[in-house]
Symmetry: C2
Subunit: 343 residues, 2 copies
C-alpha cells in the first residue's frame, strides 16, 4: 500500500463549494485510501458535509476560517488581505510541509499570486506556468502555459518545456515524453522569434528531452507529442477553442439524433456507446490544471466543476506527489543551469 | 439574373490540380450561371478536362503557361521567378480588371506575396490578412488573421476589424456584423498590450462597427460575434486547433458506433442524420480563405481539397465580387483615416 498522502483543500473555492469539495474528497478517498485531507473553510458548513460522507471518516481535519477569496478579487488584493483565507491557508500547508499538495477551485489569478508568494519558484525557473492535459487520438497530451503568462520569451518557453516534460514523466506516467513547440508551421523558418530561439536552445540542450521541434494547432488533438509548449496567450486560446469546438460538435450530434424518427431510434440502440463517448470527452475527466515551477504542488480545479471533477483534480495532485514530481523537476533544472551557462 | 462574373483560376495549384480545379469550376458554374473563367495552366492537360465538363461549355478560356509555383518555393523566389506562373497570371488578370476575382489552391506564402506585389494594399491598410469562416452554434463566424502576420500591433488589429466587418457584411450577407477581439479573458485588464490598445481604439472609433469587446477561444464555436479579430499566430493556431478537435470528436464518434453490435444497429438507423452531421462540419464546406486588404479579390483554397471544396472557394470569390466588397472596404477606410488622424 502507498504511504499516506496529505492534500490540503480550499473548502470554499469554486461555484459549487463547499459541497463539491467535500463530495469530491470523498470520491477521491474512495479511489485512493492513502489520502487524508486538511480542509480549510467555514467549519459550521463543512462539518455536516464531512459527517455525511462515510469515506471521509477519520481522514479529514477541518481547519476553520471565515475568510474567503472572492472570484472578483484582484490577485494583488487577495494577496494583501487574504492571509487568513481558505485558499491561502491551503497553500501555507504545502509550504510548511504539512500537506503534500493543495487543491483549489477558486479565483485563478489569486491562487497563482498566493502560490508564487508562498512557495516561490524553484531555482532556475523564472516564471511558473499552468499546465493541463487533454484527450487525443493517441491517448493524452499536456499543454502549458495555459494563461499564467500572456507574453513569454524564449527562455520562458525552454523552462516550460522542462517543466512539462517532468509533469508528463511523473504525473502522466510517460517514460520518455516527447515535447513540441506550438507554431504556425513545422518548417524552421516559420513563426515568432521567441519560438524559433526556444527551438534552437532545445535542440542544442544537453538535457535528455525528446524534443520534436514545431507542432501545429491540429497536433494537439492528434497527440503528435506528449507535451505541447506555448505562451500563456496562445495556450489559453487554444485550450478554450478546443473546448468550444468539442461542445459544438456534441451539440450538432444531439441535434442530428433529434432530426428524424429514424435517428431517434438509432440513438436508442447506440445510447450506451454515446454515453461512453460523452465520458471520453467529458471536461471533468481532464479537470485539474497544475501550477508548475513552484516549490510545492498546487492544482487548480475548474471553478464550475462538480464533485467528480474536483475528485479528479485531487487525483492529479496525489499523482504528482506520489511520483516525485518536485524532485524530478529540481534535478532537471540543476542540469539545465550549467548547460545554459556553458552555451 | 446577375451580371457576368469573371473568375481567374490558378489551374495548377493544389494537391489535386488540375482535375479538382476544372471539376470545381464546373460545380460552381452549375450553381451560378453568371460565372465565366479564365483558366491558367498547361493547356494540354486542361483542355481535355474542360471538354469533359458539359457545364463548362463556352464559359472557360484556357490561357496556357507551363510555369508552376511549387509548394516548396519560398515566397521571395516565387515572386522573382514566377512571373509567368499560373498563380501569378491569375492574379494579374484581377489587377488588369479582366477578372473580378482570383482563386488558387497553391502555395499560400507565394500567393500572398504575389497578391501583395500585384494588387497592393488599399489606402489605409498596412498589411493584408487571411480571413475564413466557420460553423458555429448560431450560424457562421469569420476570423482573421489566420496566418499572414505572425506579429501584429494594435493598428493592424483595428484594420483587421474593419476588413473583417466589410467581409461579413458583403460576402456573408450579415447586415450589422458584430466584432470581437480574441483575448484570454473578457475583462478590460486582461491580455496583451496590443489587444488592449486595439480595443480602446475600436471603442472610441467613429466607424459604424458593432464592437463587442473581448471574446475568448470558446466564443469562436459559440458564434458570440460575427467577426473574430486576432493576430496571425494566434488565429492560425486557433483555426488548426478547432479543425483538429473536430476531427478528434468525429473519430471518437466513429469508434463509438463500432464499439458494439447495438451501436452498429443504431448507426444503421441514424445513418442519414449522421451524414448530415458530417456535411455540417465538413471542412470543404468552409473552404476558401480570403486575402483581405488588397485592391482586388484573391481567394486561397485549401491545397488538399477536392472539386467540391474548390467550387466553394470559387463561390466565396463570386460572392465578394457580387456584393461590392472592395467598394465597401475602400469606403470604410476612407472614413477610418480622418477619424484616426483626429484622435
Amino acid at each position: 500500500m502507498a504511504e499516506r498522502l496529505t492534500i490540503s483543500l480550499d473548502g470554499m473555492g469554486g461555484d459549487n463549494a463547499p459541497d463539491s469539495v467535500v463530495e469530491g474528497a470523498a470520491i477521491a478517498r474512495e479511489r485512493n485510501p492513502a489520502l487524508r485531507f486538511l480542509l480549510y473553510g467555514d467549519e459550521a458548513r463543512l462539518k455536516p458535509l464531512v459527517a455525511a460522507q462515510s469515506h471521509l471518516a477519520d481522514c479529514v481535519e477541518i481547519r476553520h476560517t471565515d475568510k474567503v477569496v472572492a472570484n472578483t478579487d484582484k490577485p494583488s488584493v487577495a494577496l494583501r488581505s487574504g492571509k487568513q483565507s481558505s485558499m491561502r491557508l491551503a497553500i501555507d500547508a504545502v509550504q510548511s510541509g504539512e500537506a503534500d499538495s493543495a487543491v483549489s477551485a477558486g479565483n485563478t489569478g489569486a491562487l497563482m499570486a498566493m502560490a508564487m508568494f508562498g512557495l516561490r519558484t524553484i531555482a532556475g525557473v523564472e516564471r511558473p506556468a499552468i499546465c493541463s492535459f487533454f484527450p487525443t487520438e493517441r491517448g493524452e497530451t499536456c499543454m502549458l502555459d495555459l494563461g499564467a503568462n500572456v507574453a513569454c520569451d524564449a527562455e520562458n518557453l525552454v523552462q516550460f518545456a522542462v517543466m512539462g516534460e517532468a509533469f508528463a514523466r511523473t504525473a502522466m506516467g510517460i517514460e520518455k515524453p516527447t515535447v513540441g513547440l506550438l507554431n504556425v508551421g513545422v518548417e524552421d523558418l516559420k513563426g515568432k522569434d521567441e519560438v524559433k530561439l526556444a527551438a534552437a536552445a532545445l535542440r542544442e540542450s544537453t538535457l535528455p528531452i525528446e524534443f520534436k521541434g514545431f507542432v501545429e494547432g491540429d497536433d494537439i488533438a492528434c497527440g503528435t507529442v506528449d507535451v505541447v509548449v506555448t505562451d500563456g496567450f496562445t495556450g489559453n486560446i487554444a485550450l478554450k477553442t478546443a473546448e468550444g469546438t468539442s461542445r459544438l460538435v456534441s451539440a450538432f450530434l444531439r441535434e442530428a439524433f433529434q432530426s428524424s424518427l429514424m435517428a431517434k431510434v438509432g440513438y436508442l440502440f447506440a445510447r450506451r456507446a454515446m454515453h461512453k463517448l460523452r465520458l471520453r470527452v467529458d471536461p471533468r475527466r481532464y479537470n485539474g490544471a497544475v501550477l508548475l515551477g513552484l516549490n510545492g504542488i498546487v492544482v487548480k480545479s475548474h471553478g464550475g466543476t462538480d464533485s467528480l471533477g474536483f475528485a479528479n483534480a485531487i487525483g492529479v495532485a496525489a499523482d504528482m506527489a506520489t511520483h516525485g514530481f518536485l524532485a524530478k523537476m529540481r534535478h532537471d533544472f540543476e542540469q539545465l543551469r550549467p548547460a545554459e551557462t556553458g552555451r
